[in-house]
Symmetry: none
Subunit: 401 residues, 2 copies
């Protein structure tokens, strides 16, 4: 049974407010044996003060040993079983650039590639063409017309762009055209089920027209299509939790993920302080606030330990402004760990802190990887964090009599 | 896969004995930040001595963040997945007053209500009529006769009573007649599936006769019907664990829940000391003893911190008498937390202690919320406690070769 079966049935509305502050990739590792993690190194007096009041634990994003991408990482935090709800690659790519998918849309990740005179691929990424060079090329594909279908083409980065087909009833189950090797021609788009037959035909026609448009380019003279996907169908925060939810994020990917679960995207913040300002401005309008802080992840991905420490300290410095709003439940967590040592997302549990008047505090007076593993929340799957948040907020009745 | 698939296959009978002492609502909260919980405040030298010998952990009744009622709380402790096995409201109400449901019975929770001359509800609870006034009224409904069906009417409390229809093949899926608001007439009972057609007809006839009988009463001149439910079908302790199980409880609800999993209800104890006496008297006749102690819950529900502390100390004082019987496995736990601070059941994990000669003790020398979160049993779902009990009792073989 899905946890939403319970939250749908048991939800209450008592007007309380929940703030979930997601420091992307929060968890880390020491750079050498015996060392400290980024979070243990950072000076975080405000988080430590919250730790003394609250309860902490180690959040397992998906299952032990599984490192998630941003999609499943956030779905877990939002309480959606990340193994059940899957966002197709094309849909995630479109979401990541802020494209608002509609019901029935099919989104496709496309890669510019180089083909030879015989039509065989010589470079699957068109020599990793620069964004500056590829964006106008992607935009040139907007001239493609196919009767009955609305077509969107959006540049992404380097050799990547997104194509979206919009026509009622289009299926999203079409095989990739990327053969995953050079020396062979791209594959034709082949439908994997009857509902996707029309989609495959549209894709084939799109590719034929694109080939003509791109023909003269020295590197990006064709493209492949991968990850065909319909808009994912996720129940909304309003329905599953009874929450009016707002997302305060800087990057399109996180706005997109929040939009998929029915959150309103509020403000145009570009800095953490601006995000907090947006939070204050919207305080009376929503029950739940998702605040996304990107830089604990990007610094980790860069392997920049010192800068990740600095970003954690930046995050710590704004905590008093959130506390001043007196949310009934305050949560600080991450969607996964991004240790500078690994320069990538990892599977390690994420230190997670929850503060409420009824949270049963544990003895910890600091907040980091070491303390979280012996915290009162134990080691728990991220998908249960929302149920904990709701109960701590007084927003859930009891299950069964 | 259900844990019972394993216990059915792996169970052994070595004559060992298991005692599960359930202090209802055992877990608590501090009344103010930095304070102690009820269990941390209580002087519990005997439990602390057991803690030094045993292993403890934090039992999650259902899932993180879910506060259970008594039904799912106990099913979990008994090893029955509380999300899979659900006890219908009517069946639980009947169970709670000690009514022994039989296969095919349909139990219904009824509320006396007040209707006006037009038949519209003016009070859904008949002015919360007293038990003294309502009991004879409920009993007066025993004169209702419907050919072919055996009918039972039992008073519960205030405006509530239970009706049970007994006739082979009756389905329990009938919609509530309570419209959940005043100013409208009660609904007719409507079958939700074909097997419940006959049940709905019986209910309709019952309501028609009840209306005549109650007509003259100033407050309770009609009643609604809710939570239609068949007797839940639960496999027995004997079958799933190979245990001859006895329940020693004071309150009907817990006797009823134990009966549903095939335990024998032994003794007529009214006090904890009498419960221990019953335990001693039946020691040779059973393998498993469920002892239910109610007052850690009821004092918590009352918000009476000091009295909950006193009740925990009372419980502690009888521990030596149980130890003296030398059970192979001794468990102290609760079906959920009932913090005096919240005056209600809560989602917080329940301190749980297990003592056996092979339990791998943890370093703790006290037993409470703080110690349990770092105990050797970790944070675990209650539904696995019986498997732990059986293995510690030498009653389970290994899984696979």
């Amino acid at each position: 049974m899905d946890i939403h079966t319970l939250t749908r049935e048991l939800q209450l509305d008592n007007g309380s407010k929940i703030v979930m502050l997601v420091a992307d990739g929060l968890g880390g590792l020491p750079m050498s044996p015996g060392g400290l993690t980024e979070l243990e190194t950072a000076k975080t007096p405000n988080l430590d003060a919250l730790a003394a009041l609250g309860v902490q634990g180690a959040s397992i994003p998906v299952k032990p040993g599984i490192a998630p991408g941003s999609g499943p990482g956030h779905l877990g935090l939002f309480g959606y079983d990340p193994l059940h709800y899957q966002i197709g690659r094309g849909a995630l790519e479109a979401t990541g650039i802020g494209f608002e998918l509609k019901e029935g849309d099919v989104a496709i990740r496309c890669n510019f590639c180089t083909i030879d005179a015989a039509g065989k691929i010589t470079d699957r990424r068109a020599g990793r063409i620069s964004s500056e060079e590829s964006a106008p090329l992607a935009i040139s594909l907007r001239q493609i017309k196919i009767p009955g279908v609305e077509i969107f083409v959006e540049p992404v980065k380097e050799h990547r762009f997104v194509v979206v087909f919009r026509e009622p009833g289009l299926g999203g189950n079409v095989a990739d055209t990327d053969p995953q090797k050079t020396g062979v021609a791209p594959l034709d788009p082949v439908a994997q089920n009857p509902q996707s037959q029309r989609t495959a035909e549209i894709a084939k026609e799109f590719l034929a027209q694109a080939k003509k448009i791109l023909a003269g380019h020295p590197k990006a003279n064709f493209h492949t299509m991968r990850g065909f996907a319909n808009k994912p169908s996720l129940p909304s925060y309003k329905e599953v939790y009874g929450l009016r939810a707002a997302a305060i994020a800087v990057y399109p990917m996180y706005k997109g993920l929040a939009r998929l679960v029915g959150m309103d995207i509020v403000g145009q913040a570009q800095t953490l302080q601006e995000q907090i300002d947006v939070l204050k401005q919207n305080w009376d309008k929503y029950d739940f606030f998702f605040i996304h802080f990107k830089y604990t992840d990007s610094t980790g991905e860069d392997g920049n330990f010192a800068e990740k420490v600095a970003r954690i300290e930046e995050l710590d410095s704004i905590m008093p402004q959130i506390n001043a709003l007196k949310p009934e439940v305050m949560i600080v967590t991450g969607d996964h760990s991004t240790p500078s040592y690994l320069k990538s997302h990892s599977w390690h549990p994420v230190p997670t802190l929850l503060v409420s008047d009824c949270c049963r505090p544990d003895p910890h007076k600091a907040f980091n990887e070491s303390t979280s593993i012996t915290g009162g929340l134990g080691h728990f799957e991220a998908q249960y964090l929302m149920a904990l948040a709701l109960s701590n907020a007084g927003r859930m009745g009891k299950y069964g009599a």
